[in-house]
Structure formats: C-alpha cells, structure tokens
C-alpha cells in the first residue's frame, strides 16, 4: 500500500512537472506584459515562400527601426487554417495581428476577435493616405469605418498567352468580356489545334463571388448585406439566377468539352509552370501570381485582362477589391495591439508598399505608391499590365463590392462546391446545383442568426 502511494505520488509529480515544463515553454504572447523589454507582436498569416519573403524582410526592418515592438512572423497553414485557429483560440492566446482576405470583411466586422483598425487610426489621428476607392469601400463596415487596412491589393483576372491568341487570329482584349465569350474563345483556340487544353483556374473559389459582383448582381438578400442583416441566399431568384446559371453553364461547357485543366490542380506547381511554358492560352488567377509566372519563364509574352462577367448583361462598373488586409485581434493585450497598428502603418509606407508590389505582382494600394519612381519603372519595364489593372480599379465605382456577410467561410465553400460540381460532372443538372447551393447558404445564414442572439 505504501509502495503504491509512492508510485502514485511519483506519477503525479511527473505529470505536474510536465505541466510546469509546458508553461515555461509557452511561446505565445502572455496576457499582460511588463514594460520591460520590447513587446512581442505576433503576426499570423497564410503567406509563405516567395509571397512572404519580402514582407518578412520589411518586418525585420520595422523591428530594427524602433525598439518598442518586435513583430514575429508565424505561418499557420492555409487561410482556412488561420481562420480556424482564430475562431477557436481563446482571447489571450490570439495573435496581435493577422492577414485575412478582404472578402471576409463582413465576417470580421461581426466577430468578437477583431478590433476595427479605424479605432487606432482615429486615436492616432493618422491621416491615412488616400486608398483606392474600392479598397476603402471593401475594407469598411456598414458605418464606413475601416475594419482592416489593405496589405495587398489584388486584381483577379486572366493572364493570356499572346502568342496563341495571335496564331488563332483572336483579339484577347475584346473576346473575353464574359464567360460565354471565354468558352467560345478557348474552344476556338483548342479546336484549331493551337493548344491541347484551353484554360486553367486558380484552385480557390474566391473568384466565383467576384464574378457575380462584377456582373452586378447580389448574392444575398438585403443587397448583399449592405441594407441590414442578410437572411437568405438568392442564387435561385431573378437576375441573380440568370447570372449564376449562365456562369455555371459556361464553366460546365468548358469542362464537358475537355477544354479545361482539371479544377483543383495546384496553382503553384502545376498551373503556373505549364502556363509559363506555353502549354495553354488562359490562366484565371490574381495579379499576385505575376512574379511566379515571370520567374517560371522570363521571356513569356502575356497580358492581364480583368475578370469576365457571367454573361453579356454584365455591368461595366469595374471590379471588386481582392487581396488581404491587416486585421488587429482583440487579444486583451493593448500594447501588442498598438504595436500591430504601428506595424501596419509602417508597411503602408509608399516605398514598402511599392517594393512588395514589385516582388509579387500585387498592386500598390495608394496612388502615391504607384507614382514612386521605382514602381513607375516597374510598370514600364517589367509589368505593363499593372497599368491596365490600376486603371480598371480607379474607374471602379464603390458599388461593386464583395458581399458583406458573416458566413464568409460557408459562402466560399458553397461556391467551391457549385464550381466543382459543374466542372467535374459532365451530367450535372445546373438548376439542381444552384438550388443546393442556395439551400446550403440560406441554412448557414439562418444557423448563424439563431446562434448569435
């Protein structure tokens, strides 16, 4: 009996020493830090590799430029992983800042772990450099206050292989206005024998929602959430239904005819190398991948075109904003939050912004950054298409926006399911696909509404 108690004691000691060991190993930011030494600011992101390297360099420059804060770059996996962690982590373990997609602004505005950056801007009386209209609109909540600050200004569109278009005798600038045209064009090029396959898509469904916004139709009632709370998805109603149907039909036709690279192919190690080596004429992706295309084949002749609409009835009011922004987390550590704000401010410096834009292909988010000498040189010598993209953005009215909804994740998932259903099943019933997606999204909204009282 005595021996046994001794053993039990030893086991308990062992387990509790693990406990003790654990807390000293804890590397996450503690709740309150004494003002001795620099304050740790944790930055969670899904950017890695060549996307993150220039930012990390600028982060190190920020760390060196002042001694109050130290920012740490933490890669957390894909953007879904980052979101998952943010949602489920307890307050004190949250990072100070993360980079999240702009189309999730509606979600961030309503969730409990994000503090609108406008609060910090107001306190600081920062005269923010004039952001492009669409950025300002897309990162704001319903009261017009900035929830996040743009880190990257993305422009979803299509890179096209000029050589192939020339051989086919097609003018890319007029033949890719909407997805029906896209289908006809790639069909022509492939049928003429110029390439074996016609088009590849970035394996991430953000562009479905953006295509609908470009078309000018809302996806949810209450004007996509801008006139009060959304209560249901309207994919299967009215003008939206026509647009969704035409979009899905065109995609279905592309894939049923074998003109598309199987959806889901990895953008980095399959689509870009194949596109850059001249294998197919059209790649639908964002401008942020330009640097990778260039690196894969510096001599490649291409141009960038804006995202097509669903059909000929599309609006021509511009494109919604893409890319990711800095969002500050409510982690109970005011000092770290302030550090995060200072960091975001530092990164918005026009030269930092221009440098990052030049090394990835993302666009700068202010006119001032565009007009820096280095960026002007970049447009002239390296990436002329950037000018087109910037012009389209400038002409965009603020009315073309990503939906402002709290179920951003379910939205993307439902779009992804819609997309994969029509592209991987030649016998897909498009009406049924649309009804399924509508039911899925309406269900998600209703569940959210009932759980957030």
């Amino acid at each position: 009996m005595k021996r046994f108690l001794v053993v039990l004691l030893i086991v308990c000691l062992g387990v509790s020493s693990v406990f003790a060991n654990g807390t000293t190993e804890q590397a996450a930011a503690p709740a309150e830090q004494k003002s001795v030494g620099p304050i740790d600011v944790y930055w969670w992101t899904h950017w890695s590799g060549s996307m993150a390297d220039p930012l990390v360099k600028q982060m190190e420059a920020f760390n060196k430029s002042q001694s109050k804060y130290v920012v740490h770059y933490v890669y957390q996996g894909t953007s879904l992983d980052v979101l998952a962690k943010l949602q489920s982590t307890q307050k004190k373990d949250l990072p100070a800042v993360f980079t999240g997609p702009v189309e999730y602004t509606g979600y961030y505005a309503g969730c409990d772990f994000v503090i609108p950056i406008q609060d910090f801007i107001d306190k600081d009386h920062w005269d923010t450099p004039a952001l492009f209209k669409i950025s300002q609109a897309s990162y704001s909540n319903l009261d017009g206050r900035l929830v996040g600050y743009p880190a990257g200004n993305s422009f979803p569109g299509m890179f096209v292989n000029l050589d192939m278009f020339k051989k086919a005798g097609i003018d890319p600038y007029t033949s890719l206005d909407n997805f029906q045209d896209v289908f006809k064009t790639v069909k022509t090029i492939v049928d003429k024998g110029i390439s074996k396959v016609g088009i590849g898509f970035h394996n991430d469904a953000y562009w479905i929602a953006m295509t609908l916004s470009t078309q000018g139709v809302p996806s949810f009632d209450n004007n996509d959430g801008f006139s009060g709370k959304p209560t249901k998805c309207i994919y299967n109603q009215g003008k939206t239904k026509e647009a969704v149907y035409d979009l899905l039909k065109a995609l279905h036709d592309i894939y049923a005819g074998g003109y598309g690279i199987p959806y889901g192919a990895n953008i980095n190690n399959e689509l870009i190398p194949r596109f850059a080596s001249g294998e197919f004429p059209v790649l639908l992706v964002t401008t942020g991948f330009f640097a990778k295309i260039k690196a894969a084949n510096p001599k490649f002749e291409y141009t960038l075109l804006p995202l097509p609409g669903c059909d000929v009835n599309r609006a021509h009011d511009g494109v919604p904003a893409g890319g990711c922004g800095w969002f500050i987390c409510d982690n109970g550590n005011k000092a770290a939050q302030q550090g995060a704000y200072e960091f975001a401010k530092f990164m918005s410096d026009i030269h930092n912004n221009a440098t990052w834009a030049m090394s990835t292909g993302y666009l700068p988010q202010t006119q001032a950054a565009v007009e820096t000498t280095e960026y002007q040189d970049f447009i002239k010598n390296v990436y002329p298409s950037a000018k087109m993209a910037l012009d389209v953005q400038k002409k965009s009215t603020g009315s073309i926006r990503n939906p402002f909804i709290p179920i951003a994740n379910e939205h993307k998932q439902a779009n992804d399911i819609m997309l994969t259903q029509v592209t991987t099943n030649p016998n897909a019933d498009i009406n049924k696909v649309i009804d399924d997606a509508t039911a899925r999204l309406t269900d998600a909204i209703q569940l959210y509404n009932s759980s957030s009282k």
Binding site: L80, E270, R274, I417, T424
Partner: protein
C-alpha cells in the same frame, strides 16, 4: 493452502491500481463524448459555448439535408474500399510468407514497412506520385488522370494512400495467424488431395479466423477515422466527394466554427463504428474457430 486474498474486507488496492487510468479515460474520452452528445442537441457559438438548447430540431435539420446523407454514403464507400483492399492484399502477402524461407525476413520487411510511415509524409510522397502531368503513377498505368482532382478518382486516391499505409499492420497480424496453423493439418490436407486454393480456404482461413476477425475490426475503425490523407490530398475533395464523417467533424467544428453540426457528425460516426463492431461481434460466435 490458504490463499490470503480471500478476505472479508474490501481491498482497495485493485481500485487504486486502475483509478488513474480510469480517471484519464473519463477526462479525455468519456467526458468529451457525453459533451459531444449533449451539444448535438443545442446551438453553439463560434467558440463552442452553448447558446441554447434546441433538442431534436438540430438532428432533424441535419438529417433532412441531402448533404448529410451524401457524407454518410462517402464514408461507407471509403470504408468498404479500404476494408476490402486492405484485407485482400494483406491476406495475399501473408499467405505468400507463411513458410519462412531463406531471407524471407527481407520481403516480410517490405510488406510491413509502410506501417512505419506516418500519414503526413505518406501524403507528401503520394502528392508527388499523383501529379497529372509527368506524374509517376500516370506513367506506370499509362493513364492521364488528375487523381486528386477528378470526382471519380479522388476518393480512390485517398483510399489508395490509406490502404498502402495500413496493409503493414494487417499483414503482420494475418501472418501470425497463418503461421499458427499446425503443419500436420496442411500436410493431411495435401494428402487428401487439396490444391493450394483448397488448402487456403478450408484450412488456413478457418484456423486463422481469430486474427482475420481482429484485422476486420481494426480496419473498420481505422477506415472510418482516416483523416490526414484526406486533409492533405483533397481537403474534402472536389465538391464533397471525399468528405467523410470524420472530415466533416473537422470541417464544421474547426473551419466553420459550427460545433453543434460537428457534434452531430461525430455522434453519427460513433453510431456507425458501434453498429459495425456489434455486428462483427455477433458474427464472431458463428464464424471464428478457436483452437
């Protein structure tokens, strides 16, 4: 000889011996299990905290969605493919190795080696093999599939990786079973004129039935709970073609923050495992022959 153990007093020793284990089981298996069960009757917020009880309406909502049944069907398909492939292949391997011969340890090692490979590196290796253009699997088979992206092949790809990893364990268990068949039985069967096929079916399999039964049991559970290959290869697959119950638990609980939905899937998964093992146990009495 008087055995001291038969005392009238209650001995506390055995209870103390098993107490720490039972305590831990309660903490990380039974308590969360009950919590999962209860939460499936509620609505939660994104932090997993209870908002309100809704009773059966949560289950009714879930069961009336075709998406739910789609996931159930995918899970069953996946489990079936896994079970049949693993069992057949490991049985063939085990039968090949029944008679230990010269250097037989070498190929025995090969058949069981993937057991030591974790799912993350296995997924990494197979991601490479599954490439459409210039991928080795396509080259070997002469096909041109985009294995992890096409609706017809996505589930097969995940199953292939999973089976490859799991054959090792089943192989070892079956090998033990087949090796335990007494040589005299095999010889007398040969004398009776049984060919290799006949011997296998009428002698080897019945004698090894305890191990075969165990391998069945093991594979059912592992095939229902396979997570990493799906997460790393297809992320739930083109539309929902590779979303199994366990993946839905992860997707809805962690990615979408909808705990109540996740708990419904978790309970359904448990129900399936429970029922299949129960059926198996019932069949054990009829089919397993113990020496």
């Amino acid at each position: 000889m008087e055995i001291k153990k038969k005392t009238k007093k209650i001995r506390y020793t055995p209870y103390l011996l098993i107490a720490p284990s039972l305590l831990l089981f309660c903490m990380f298996i039974y308590f969360p299990f009950v919590k999962s069960f209860l939460f499936s009757f509620a609505v939660t917020n994104r932090r997993g905290e209870l908002v309100k009880w809704v009773g059966l309406s949560n289950w009714i909502r879930m069961l009336s969605k075709p998406e739910f049944w789609g996931i159930v069907v995918v899970s069953l398909k996946f489990a079936l493919i896994n079970l049949v492939s693993t069992l057949l292949t490991s049985m063939i391997f085990a039968l090949l190795c029944t008679r230990p011969g010269l250097f037989s340890k070498s190929y025995q090692l090969f058949y069981s080696l993937p057991l030591a490979i974790a799912s993350a590196p296995a997924a990494a290796i197979w991601t490479f093999l599954f490439k459409q253009e210039g991928g080795i699997l396509n080259w070997v088979l002469g096909t041109h599939f985009a294995w992890t992206q096409e609706a017809n092949t996505a589930l097969l790809s995940c199953a292939l990786v999973n089976v490859w990893m799991n054959i090792g364990a089943s192989f070892i268990f079956l090998l033990v079973g087949f090796r335990s068949v007494p040589l005299e039985m095999i010889e007398s069967a040969t004398i009776d004129g049984a060919g290799p096929f006949g011997k296998t079916i009428h002698v080897m399999i019945p004698i090894a039935s305890p191990q075969i039964f165990f391998v069945f049991f093991l594979n059912i559970i592992t095939s229902f709970t396979t997570f990493a290959p799906i997460r790393l290869l297809t992320d739930g697959g083109p539309s929902t073609t590779t979303t199994t119950l366990i993946y839905a638990v992860y997707k809805w609980g962690i990615q979408n923050g909808r705990f109540e939905t996740s708990c419904v899937y978790a309970m359904t998964l448990f129900l399936f495992i429970f029922c299949t093992t129960r059926i198996q146990m019932a069949l054990e009495k009829r089919t397993v022959y113990y020496q």
